[in-house]
C-alpha cells in the first residue's frame, strides 16, 4: 500500500517479534503459501480452510503465511504459491494484487470473482455513477432527511469504473473456477503443486458454480 501524505501506520509496517529460532528454522524449510482476498465474499478463502483435517497432513510441507486466520495486509516474505480470491474493483485491489504478484512464484485465481469478476462484475452492465447513485443517493434504505452523500475520503479506495478479472491486471498462472470451489479441489491443486506434479483440474471436479 503506498503511503499517502499522512501519519497513518499500517500493520505490515510495524516491527514483528522474532520467532523462536528453532521454529523459524523449521518454517524456513517449508513451502510458503498465502491467500489474499480482493473483491469477493471470503467464501473461497473459507474453502481453503475447508480442507479440514487434510490441511494437517500438508503442514509438514507447507506453512501458510496469510489466510483468513492470519489477516495481515501484506506478506512479509516471498511465497511459492499465492491464491487470490475476488476480482479487482478498486485501487487498493490493484495495489494489493500487484504487490502479491511480485512476491509469489505461482499465482492462482480462485473462484468466479477472481476468474472473471463474478457477482461484483454484475455492475459492469451499468455505469459506475448509476451504481453509486443507487447505493447512496436513491437508496431505499437511505436515512430519511439526511443529505444524500457519495462517500469520498483519501482513506477510502477509489472504485474502478468496471470490475476486472485478476488476469486482466497481472499475469495469473492457474485458475480454479467455482463459487466457491470445494476445499477438496483447492487441496488437490495444492497437493499437486507442492509434490512437483502439474496443475490439473479434470472435468470431474471442475465447477463454475
Amino acid at each position: 500500500m503506498s503511503k499517502p501524505d499522512n501519519n497513518n501506520t499500517y500493520s505490515h509496517d510495524l516491527p514483528a517479534r522474532q520467532l523462536d529460532p528453532e521454529l523459524q528454522a523449521a518454517r524456513d524449510e517449508k513451502i510458503k503459501v498465502a491467500m489474499i482476498g480482493l473483491c469477493g465474499c471470503w467464501g473461497c478463502t473459507l474453502s481453503l480452510l475447508d480442507m479440514d483435517e487434510a490441511l494437517l497432513g500438508l503442514l509438514d510441507k507447507v506453512t501458510i503465511l496469510r489466510s483468513s486466520l492470519t489477516d495481515i495486509k501484506r506478506i512479509r516474505e516471498r511465497c511459492a504459491i499465492g491464491f487470490v480470491e475476488g476480482g479487482v474493483a478498486n485501487e487498493e485491489n490493484i495495489e494489493t494484487l500487484k504487490e502479491f504478484r511480485e512476491n509469489c512464484d505461482i499465482l492462482i485465481s480462485v473462484g468466479a470473482c477472481a476468474v472473471w469478476g463474478g457477482v461484483p462484475a454484475m455492475r459492469n452492465e451499468a455505469e459506475l455513477t448509476d451504481c453509486l447513485k443507487e447505493a447512496y443517493v436513491a437508496s431505499v434504505t437511505a436515512v430519511p432527511d439526511a443529505i444524500p452523500t457519495i462517500p469520498y475520503h483519501e482513506d477510502i479506495p477509489r472504485i474502478t469504473t468496471k470490475v476486472y478479472p485478476c488476469h486482466e491486471v497481472v499475469r495469473m498462472d492457474y485458475f480454479i473456477p467455482g463459487c466457491p470451489p470445494d476445499g477438496a479441489t483447492i487441496l488437490k491443486v495444492l497437493d499437486d503443486l507442492i509434490n512437483g506434479r502439474e496443475f490439473d483440474l479434470p472435468a470431474s471436479i471442475n465447477r463454475y458454480d
Binding site: P177, N206, Y208
Partner: protein, 234 residues
C-alpha cells in the same frame, strides 16, 4: 451401405451418410457439441464439434460420413480450437453460473468442463441485452443466448408450424425474439421442451427454478460425455 472410415487412425465401420458426431459416439469417441441435437437436422451454428476431415477443419455435425474418410478428433490443436470456441461463448455473453437457474443442467457449462475450460482467453464483454418477460409462461435471459437456433428451428406452433422464436438483427446487436401470441398458446409440455432444448439458461419457464439440489442435477448425475457416449464410453 456399409463403409469404413478412420477416426484418429483407428478403422471404424459405419453406414454411409450417417452423421459423423453419431458415428464417432457409437465408436466411443466423444466429440463435444452444443447446437447439434440427435434426431434433428444439423444446424451447424456453434462449430464446437470442429474436427479435421481429410485434412480440412469442419463441423462434425454437418459431415455425412463417406468411405475412406480420415477424421482427426483428439489432436492438441483441435482440442484447443474447440476449447477456444467454448471460451469465446463464455466471454461473449453473461454466463454467471453461480446465479444461473440452468446451472447443473446447462449444455454450455457441461461442455466447458469436458473441454477443460477454467477461464476464457478472451476478454469478458458483459453485454447488456434486455430480458424478454412479456409472455405468460416463458421468459428470456437474452444475455445468455449463444444463437444456436435450436429453439428457432425445432420449437414451432403446433397448429400452424410457424416459428415461435426468431433472431433479430446481426452481429453484436443480434438478439433472440419471442412471438408472445404464439408463446402464450404453447402447451405446458412444449414450454418445458423449449426450456430443455435451450443449451444455456436463456429460455426459462416461469414459476419454476432451482428444483434439483446441487449434486442431483442433470449433468452431476451423468456427465455430458457419458450421455453422448451411452454404453460406448471408454
Amino acid at each position: 451401405m456399409s463403409i469404413q472410415i478412420t477416426i484418429d487412425g483407428q478403422p471404424v465401420a459405419a453406414e454411409e451418410g450417417h452423421n459423423l458426431v453419431d458415428v464417432a459416439a457409437e465408436n466411443g469417441v466423444y466429440i463435444p457439441t452444443l447446437c447439434y441435437l440427435k434426431g434433428h437436422p444439423c444446424l451447424g451454428t456453434c462449430r464446437v464439434c470442429s474436427v479435421r476431415v481429410n485434412g480440412h477443419v469442419a463441423a462434425a455435425c454437418s459431415v455425412p460420413v463417406a468411405d475412406g474418410m480420415q477424421v482427426e478428433v483428439e489432436t492438441t490443436e483441435l482440442a484447443d480450437m474447440r476449447k477456444a470456441l467454448i471460451e469465446f461463448l463464455f466471454s461473449e455473453g453473461n454466463h454467471n453460473c453461480p446465479s444461473c437457474e440452468k446451472s447443473g443442467r446447462c449444455d454450455l457449462q457441461a461442455t466447458g468442463y469436458e473441454v477443460g475450460m477454467m477461464v476464457s482467453r478472451f476478454p469478458y464483454r458483459f453485454p447488456v441485452r434486455e430480458r424478454a418477460v412479456v409472455a405468460d409462461h416463458i421468459w428470456l435471459e437474452r444475455d445468455r443466448c449463444i444463437f444456436c437456433q435450436r429453439c428457432v428451428e425445432f420449437i414451432r406452433d403446433r397448429k400452424t408450424d410457424q416459428k415461435i422464436f426468431s433472431i433479430k438483427g446481426r452481429g453484436s446487436t443480434a438478439q433472440i425474439e419471442i412471438n408472445t401470441e404464439l408463446a402464450n398458446a404453447m402447451p405446458p409440455e412444449q414450454v418445458r421442451e423449449a426450456a430443455d432444448i435451450c443449451p444455456v439458461g436463456c429460455i426459462l419457464e416461469k414459476g419454476v427454478g432451482f428444483n434439483d439440489p446441487i449434486g442431483q442435477r442433470k449433468f452431476e448425475i451423468q456427465s455430458v460425455r457419458e450421455r453422448a457416449l451411452g454404453d460406448k464410453k471408454k
